[in-house]
């Protein structure tokens, strides 16, 4: 088990370097952060050169990258061009997005798995057919469409919740945005759970369990669920990253000042340290979530634990 964890950790390193370098390359090599800083005005050449030197922008790209990563390891994410520390922006943005992601994840896990299990157990019946149809429709409606429509209906027309979220974004106000963020993943989780439940309920070991005379609830909870949820757990884990990344759209719709908002602002203003810093953190979160999934996988499936 220990060796397994270490192996997974080592495998993460090249992926981390690759992903962050790719982002770094796109932001710094293809945009011109200094020009962006001055907006429409042509910068004074001497000032521009000084800024470039300060930011190591005159060095080759790989050196800039190494320098940047070195700074990050000491907790210094640099300063946004407006003078605010990137870490300050993070401190205000990440908790908001984290709350949003938690709401979405909870919704996705609870509703998705329950619906998936129910329809998987009733394969071919009317509940199953309608769940399949609804999830298909939900998958087909892009988040930004369902977001606006739900905001309009629930927030504006019926006035059930406030349509916009206040800057502190408490959990209560994040329920609707969380649901919107989760919808697509929720549909996938439902379908995946249904498929694995349906597949596993035909497995030989389930037939054995029936032949053992187990009551139905025990059959489902002890034998069927644990085997069926292994791939679902994998999906949900990898989805954490996608949810946090996808929050850009949701946060824009509901005017939530989270990671997506800051990133969007950063990109609009070509605020490179902000963009690279936030993305780096998101990549780390994504990788850690994957590691967590791998560990959970090993806990759930002894065949991996002892491999």
């Amino acid at each position: 088990m220990g060796r397994y964890v270490i192996r997974r950790l080592l495998q993460m390193i090249p992926v981390f370097i690759g992903s962050t370098f790719l982002i770094f390359f796109m932001v710094y090599a293809l945009g011109d952060p200094v020009a962006a800083l001055f907006g429409d005005k042509a910068p004074d050449p001497a000032t521009a050169a000084r800024i470039r030197k300060d930011l190591y922008l005159d060095e080759p790209l790989w050196k800039q990258y190494l320098h940047y990563m070195g700074q990050i390891l000491t907790g210094d994410f640099g300063t946004a061009f407006n003078g605010q520390k990137v870490t300050e922006l993070m401190a205000s943005a990440f908790p908001v997005t984290l709350r949003l992601t938690i709401v979405a994840l909870l919704f996705e896990i609870v509703v998705g798995i329950v619906l998936g299990v129910l329809s998987g157990l009733r394969r071919g019946r009317s509940l199953d057919t309608s769940v399949l149809l609804i999830t298909l429709i939900v998958v087909s409606i892009p988040t930004f469409v369902s977001g606006y429509v739900l905001q309009f209906l629930i927030g504006v027309k019926w006035g059930v919740v406030t349509p916009a979220v206040s800057p502190y974004a408490p959990f209560g106000e994040l329920i609707l945005p969380g649901v919107v963020l989760a919808l697509t993943s929720l549909a996938y989780v439902t379908r995946l759970t249904r498929t694995t439940i349906a597949e596993n309920s035909r497995a030989d070991y389930i037939r054995t369990a029936v032949a053992k005379g187990l009551p139905r609830h025990r059959l489902v909870t002890r034998h069927l669920l644990r085997n069926s949820l292994i791939p679902v757990v994998t999906f949900i884990g990898t989805d954490v990253g996608a949810l946090m990344g996808g929050a850009i759209v949701t946060e824009r719709i509901f005017n939530i000042h989270g990671v997506g908002y800051q990133l969007y602002q950063g990109i609009l203003r070509q605020n490179s340290p902000t963009v690279v810093g936030f993305v780096t953190i998101l990549v780390i979160v994504f990788l850690l979530a994957n590691l967590l999934v791998d560990l959970l996988y090993a806990v759930l499936d002894p065949r991996i634990r002892y491999a």
Binding site: Y205, R207, T208, V210, A211, K212, G213, L214, R226, I230
Partner: protein, 334 residues
């Protein structure tokens, strides 16, 4: 014989059982009127090719038929005189595993991969006898000892994939015998095992059967196993029993051309060098079983009557029957 007097009725009596499967190509008649019975302590071997309906019959008896697509369309399964097919689901569940149980062919896929073997064994006691987790764990260790798994105490927490094929099948047997059932159905219990291990597992099963005086239905296509352990044989073909006989009678002189073909296709040391006999043709498509005797297209003895009239089971002698119009001729052939 004390035992016999308590149970005046047969342990298991299958009467005219019929099972269908609904497939894309139509209705496959997998079991078409099977009759057999088993007494306590008796071993019935059910012999047949894949697709002959032997496993489906067993699943119908156990109540683990996949339905849909499978469906029992007729017949009775009397267990100690009570029809299992008309029984309530809950009553039937209590019988399953406790009074009658099953040993499956491939223990690796038949055991839950993510549950320790100890937990899977202990579960039997928790569910059927309401034992505590601790007591049932101790029982599981005893059972593993009983089926001669070395260091049972240390291995009770291990998972199925950590055992060898033979050991896994022993666990499967332990599970089936955990509550000392009256009837055990073993569906090709040794087919998936190495030849060297097959005999050990079969011996263990036979030994435990004698000890508990259980009825045993042994489903197999291995004629070698049958000769050693069975009391009587039922040969199945296309969902029907074509011959049933005490084991030694059948080996001495088969009364059905199909049985004869099976026996002739066993390689024999004293006939080394001769070409091995093979029954020509294929088993019939179960969605369109030919009229008359289903074996007639492949039968060396077939006459016109075989293609038109379906032969009933003719009584050959005491405890012996054959579904062949020419059973006498077949019997006399040797």
């Amino acid at each position: 014989m004390e035992h016999q007097r308590d149970q005046p009725v047969t342990l298991l009596d299958v009467r005219d059982l019929q099972v269908e499967f609904h497939t894309r190509d139509g209705v496959a008649k997998a079991v078409n009127g099977v009759n057999y019975c088993v007494d306590p302590g008796e071993t019935l071997a059910v012999l047949g090719e894949s697709g002959s309906g032997k496993s489906v019959t067993a699943q119908a008896i156990m109540g683990i038929l996949d339905s849909p697509p499978g469906r029992i369309t007729g017949g009775e399964v009397l267990f100690r005189g009570e029809d299992l097919l008309t029984m309530g689901a809950e009553t039937r569940r209590r019988i399953r595993g406790a009074k009658m149980s099953m040993v499956f062919q491939d223990a690796l896929s038949a055991l839950n991969p993510v549950m320790s073997v100890g937990a899977q064994l202990a579960e039997m006691f928790e569910v059927h006898e309401g034992m505590t987790r601790k007591d049932s764990r101790a029982k599981a260790v005893q059972l593993m000892d009983r089926v001669r798994i070395p260091a049972a105490k240390d291995r009770v927490g291990d998972y199925p994939h950590q055992f060898s094929g033979g050991m896994r099948q022993r666990i499967m047997i332990a599970m089936a015998l955990a509550l000392e059932p009256d009837l055990v159905i073993a569906d090709e219990p040794t087919t998936a095992l190495d030849v060297t291990v097959q005999a050990q597992v079969m011996d263990l099963l036979a030994e435990l059967q004698r000890e508990y005086n259980m009825g045993l239905i042994l489903i197999t296509h291995d004629l070698g196993v049958v000769a050693d352990v069975a009391d009587k044989i039922a040969v199945m073909y296309a969902g029907r029993i074509v011959e049933t006989a005490p084991v030694h009678d059948l080996y001495a002189a088969p009364a059905h051309p199909y049985t004869r073909g099976l026996l002739d296709s066993i390689p024999r040391l004293d006939q080394k060098g001769r070409q091995l006999y093979a029954i020509k043709g294929l088993p019939p498509d179960l969605t369109a079983i030919p009229p008359g005797c289903p074996f007639s297209p492949r039968c060396p003895r077939a006459q016109d009557i075989c293609r038109t009239d379906r032969p009933p089971l003719f009584a050959v002698s005491h405890g012996r029957a054959s579904a062949c119009h020419f059973w006498k001729e077949t019997l006399d052939e040797r």
